[in-house]
């Protein structure tokens, strides 16, 4: 052992224990962050039993899906330093895979599986093709090519209306066990009916959790360390014997596969898939914002960014409605926070948060004393 002074945190000393193993040795390293993450996990795990009505559970499901989507994008942007604009394309492929298969082949688990596998295969092939064609050239060209391919995919999805439903998208039936009419238990549990909708939620929740933990493991694996080395100094990584193009391509494939799974979950939850739910460029912008707000280069940033963003999207209008009516009678103020202005305030919130936390919220929390 060396004689260096004891450090407050030494990541090379492996901590034992279940938690460390599940979190791949990448603990939150900040008390506030741990509490926030735990709170998000608990709320998401209990939403169907704690909140009533369809909006909370819909919001929670969307948060789960977006955590996976944003985490998979952070694997590219934050860990590998790759700027891709094709992430919603893979999200869309997952959604359309499920939607087309369930609509065409009937509402069974078998067709869902076929749809998912076909979508994963298509995503992998596309990611490899884009990667090998363009990851060896300058970063800006890769970004441009992803932009072009993503636009082409969006046009294709809206033009092939016989297959994809065009701009209207596809509505479809879920397998029996996920339908609202299905009852797993005849009696309600904790006052909530254990129906197909609840099962669908927990399917989304647990698959999201599993994929998130897998991504967390991958970024903390020897492979993930190579990605970070490439991000830092691509030339040196190559000189050390790492095939940069192969590693980057692998990173985009993994990221694409996770996004595809997220898209499949989104479609399963909504029983619908269309350009606006998974494929649109505005979702791409949302993902970018969520990564930056949460904190680039940390998987926990995805959790916080996605939770905050989706909550703001869903509830800012409600909050502003309340504020506006509370201030009724005062000059100007009620108009300023009228629900119709919610996008303005959402924008202002992002500008402020990016300005105040350049390293994202997680970066800020980890810098503070734990």
């Amino acid at each position: 052992m060396t004689s260096s002074p004891a450090l407050p945190f030494d990541e090379t000393r492996r901590q034992g224990g279940f938690l460390s193993a599940v979190l791949s040795s990448d603990l939150p390293r900040s008390r506030v962050l741990s509490v926030v993450l735990l709170a998000i996990l608990l709320v998401l795990a209990t939403t169907p039993f704690v909140f009533s009505g369809s909006q909370p559970i819909g919001t929670a499901a969307k948060i789960c899906v977006f955590i996976v989507l944003v985490a998979s994008y952070d694997l590219l942007l934050g860990y590998s330093g790759i700027v891709s604009f094709a992430h919603t394309m893979f999200f869309g492929i997952g959604g359309y895979g499920i939607a087309i298969a369930l609509e065409r082949l009937g509402p069974t688990w078998g067709s869902a599986a076929i749809g998912l596998v076909a979508a994963l295969a298509l995503s992998a092939v596309l990611a490899v093709a884009i990667g090998l064609l363009s990851l060896r050239v300058r970063a800006i060209f890769f970004s441009m090519i992803t932009l072009a391919v993503a636009s082409a995919a969006a046009v294709l999805a809206s033009q092939l209306s016989s297959l994809t439903g065009g701009e209207d998208g596809l509505s479809f039936q879920l397998p029996q066990a996920l339908r609202p009419a299905f009852r797993l238990l005849s009696e309600p549990l904790f006052g909530t009916a254990v129906n197909g909708r609840l099962l669908a939620y927990y399917l989304v929740f647990f698959v999201s959790l599993l994929v998130f933990l897998t991504l967390l493991r991958i970024v903390n694996s020897p492979f993930g360390r190579v990605l970070q080395a490439i991000r830092e100094n691509e030339f040196r990584a190559e000189a050390l014997g790492y095939r940069v193009v192969a590693y980057r391509t692998a990173a985009s494939v993994i990221s694409a596969l996770a996004a595809t799974i997220a898209g499949a979950l989104m479609a399963l939850w909504l029983r619908y898939n269309g350009p606006d739910t998974t494929l649109s460029f505005s979702i791409m912008v949302d993902i970018l914002l969520m990564v930056v707000i949460g904190g680039m280069g940390t998987m926990y940033g995805a959790v916080i960014g996605a939770a905050l963003f989706v909550l703001a999207q869903s509830y800012l209008q409600v909050l502003m409605e309340a504020g506006s009516s509370a201030l009724a009678g005062l000059p100007l103020l009620p108009n300023l926070i009228h629900p119709d202005r919610w996008l303005l305030w959402l924008g202002a919130l992002f500008v402020i948060s990016v300005y105040a936390f350049p390293g994202g919220i997680v970066g800020r929390l980890r810098r503070a004393v734990p």
């Binding site: 897998t214 492979f223 040196r236 990584a237 000189a239 050390l240």
Partner: protein, 260 residues
């Protein structure tokens, strides 16, 4: 391979290695063999093509003509990473590290590459204690153990050079290529790096290539000197003999030598 390698078989060989940048020939038809157990110094004035020659060997530049062979195998068409995996190790002239990762992580990445462990996706990186321990022992060897948690951007220039050497040692290459390892170092730090190079030379059958400007360093370390001038190999031989030759006196030291 049909022949068995003997001690005189070259670990590295260049055949007619040439690179042109437009009309300028930076390295011109350089053929040379480097045998195990030998430290060869490559000298020549600034702009002679020494670093370009290194870049051609390690693959950062593509040759216009000629071949690079590692243990008899043609690697001319291979990218740098593939040459590294065949045993070519290179330390860079301008320090070239991972600036934000710790010194330990810099070395660990080199050790990990050597152990071919980069494609492990589902293990936690620090479960490979052996890689961490090996990286730590190398940091101790280059006397950076107490700075293992400091990132290169916060290290002194001399320490960055030592770390560069540590990365090279971690690769355990067959051929060590040092490009002015002591450039820009303070006088008291130079001996550490020279000792490390001497140490590498002593430990078995390494082939060492050293680009160096300081003639005293060259004289004390090398078994052989080759001289590049305007991209051409102009002298090759025992240190004393090469240093004394008129062509070196003129080309390298800039001394006008009276001709008979």
């Amino acid at each position: 391979m049909t022949f068995t390698s003997t001690t005189t078989a070259p670990a590295l060989e260049t055949r007619g290695l040439t690179i042109r940048f437009g009309g300028h020939v930076a390295v011109n038809d350089v053929s040379c063999r480097f045998t195990p157990g030998t430290l060869t110094a490559i000298v020549g004035p600034n702009g002679a093509g020494k670093t370009t020659y290194f870049n051609l060997i390690s693959g950062q530049l593509k040759a216009s003509a000629g071949q690079v062979l590692v243990e008899g195998e043609d690697v001319t068409g291979l990218p740098p990473s593939a040459r590294t995996r065949r045993g070519l190790g290179r330390a860079f002239q301008l320090t070239n590290l991972f600036p934000q990762l710790t010194a330990l992580e810099n070395v660990r990445l080199a050790v990990q590459s050597r152990a071919d462990a980069g494609w492990s996706l589902f293990k936690v990186w620090n479960s490979r204690r052996d890689l961490i321990e090996k990286a730590e022992s190398i940091l101790e060897r280059v006397r950076l153990a107490d700075k293992r948690h400091i990132a290169p951007k916060a290290l002194s220039h001399g320490d960055q050079r030592k770390l560069e050497v540590a990365l090279l040692i971690a690769m355990e290459p067959k051929v060590f290529m040092f490009d002015e390892p002591t450039a820009g170092m303070s006088v008291d730090e130079v001996p550490t790096v020279l000792e490390l190079i001497h140490d590498i030379k002593q430990r078995g059958d390494s082939t060492v290539l050293l680009v160096e400007h300081k003639m005293d360093v060259v004289r004390s370390l090398s078994d052989r000197i080759i001289v590049l001038h305007n991209g051409t190999l102009v002298a090759d031989g025992e240190p004393a003999e090469v240093i004394a030759s008129p062509v070196v006196q003129e080309a390298y030291l800039g001394v006008e030598v009276a001709r008979d």
